[in-house]
């Protein structure tokens, strides 16, 4: 295979994967031995240093991942800031609203209402101290129950959780 096409294929695979991809997996997909492939990836890493490129390849433990260039972060911030005046992504806001109204609630209920996995959002809301674990449900697996924190109450100007505005037709 032409080296140019190999480079394109590597970029394509790393882009779609999002996560780090091991040299081994790349080598298998391309049917090229690992040492040759490694040389090509190193060339590609150099190609990305070009000033017109906004992304780069980072190597972590013999795996590769596409990342945005740190020196361009200001533009990312300018793009995303107006979308996130409240400092929460749409996904996290959705997750937080379910936890606020249905607490104590398990991750599986949140997932089922949102229709997608909420693991990452829950992790980030925990980190921001907006939610906390409030206990575990009895029964198999003993899943964690989540509820809101005092930080949450303070930020939303509530004295306690009963002050959440009621939602008609819901209970």
């Amino acid at each position: 295979m032409d080296i140019k096409k190999i480079k394109a294929a590597i970029e394509c695979m790393l882009f779609v994967s999002g996560d780090p991809v091991s040299l081994k997996d790349l080598s298998a997909a391309l049917a090229i031995d690992q040492s040759t492939l490694k040389k090509i990836i190193n060339q590609l890493i150099d190609d990305y240093k070009d000033i017109t490129r906004g992304i780069k390849i980072v190597e972590i433990n013999n795996s590769y991942q596409l990342c945005s260039k740190t020196e361009l972060y200001e533009f990312v911030e300018k793009l995303l800031k107006p979308k996130a005046k409240i400092g929460l992504s749409q996904a996290s806001l959705e997750t937080l609203s379910i936890i606020a109204y249905k607490q104590p609630v398990t991750k599986s209920v949140i997932d089922s209402i949102r229709g997608v996995k909420s693991d990452a959002c829950i992790a980030r809301l925990l980190e921001k101290d907006m939610i906390k674990e409030v206990g575990r449900m009895d029964g198999p697996g003993r899943p964690i129950l989540y509820g809101t924190t005092n930080t949450f109450l303070r930020l939303f100007g509530l004295k306690n959780i009963n002050e959440l505005p009621p939602i008609k037709d819901l209970f």
Partner: protein
Amino acid sequence: MSINIKLEVFEGPFELLFHLIEKDKIDIYDIPIAKITAQYINYIKMMQSLDIDLASEFLVMAATLLEIKSKMLLPKTSKEDEVQEEDPREDLVKKLLEYKAYKDISAILKQKLMENEKALCKDSSLADEIIDSFALPDRLSIEILMDKFKELMNKKQSHKDLENNRIYRDNITVEDKMVEVLKALSLEKTVYFDDLIMECINKLEAIITFLAILELIKQRRIYVEQTNNFDKIIVRRR
């Protein structure tokens, strides 16, 4: 001796009609209605003899065909009438052509889809992550949260309505709910009674969920257990 019958399955009456028309290379603007009606009814009879469930739409079309056939058999009163009278087949032909136009275009779109679905994009979790790393303002409006929750619940409601083949005003039935509970149990061996209730949109749905669970227990399709008083109730499939 076994008989092999190759039976085509038609999605709807238009599809079946088109099959009959194309099979005999019939001019769509001059459909021999008696012949087509006979063939159409034969097909329906065959389906019924094989115990295949027929959508009511097929029977409606049979009635329409018979009606057109009888209209065409009526003697024309005078030559002038003939000029003015519209062809009883006209409506049907119009509908068939419209259906055919979309059927044809869907083949073109399918081709486009097969080509373009191979272009994959990246999920937006990186952007979510960056947004969530921004500092929270000192004060947030609770309305944002309430609106988001309402939006989510409404979205869920309308999807559920569609899945259950109901018009949005209609009430959910116990039978619908039984299917839903069994579906939930087909994904996981056990579900919490609380979760089934908590996912409900309103009180009515919660009551119906409760009735559905009772009915499923009665039919011995699920069982329910609680280890200690006040423990969470677990619903299991049998």
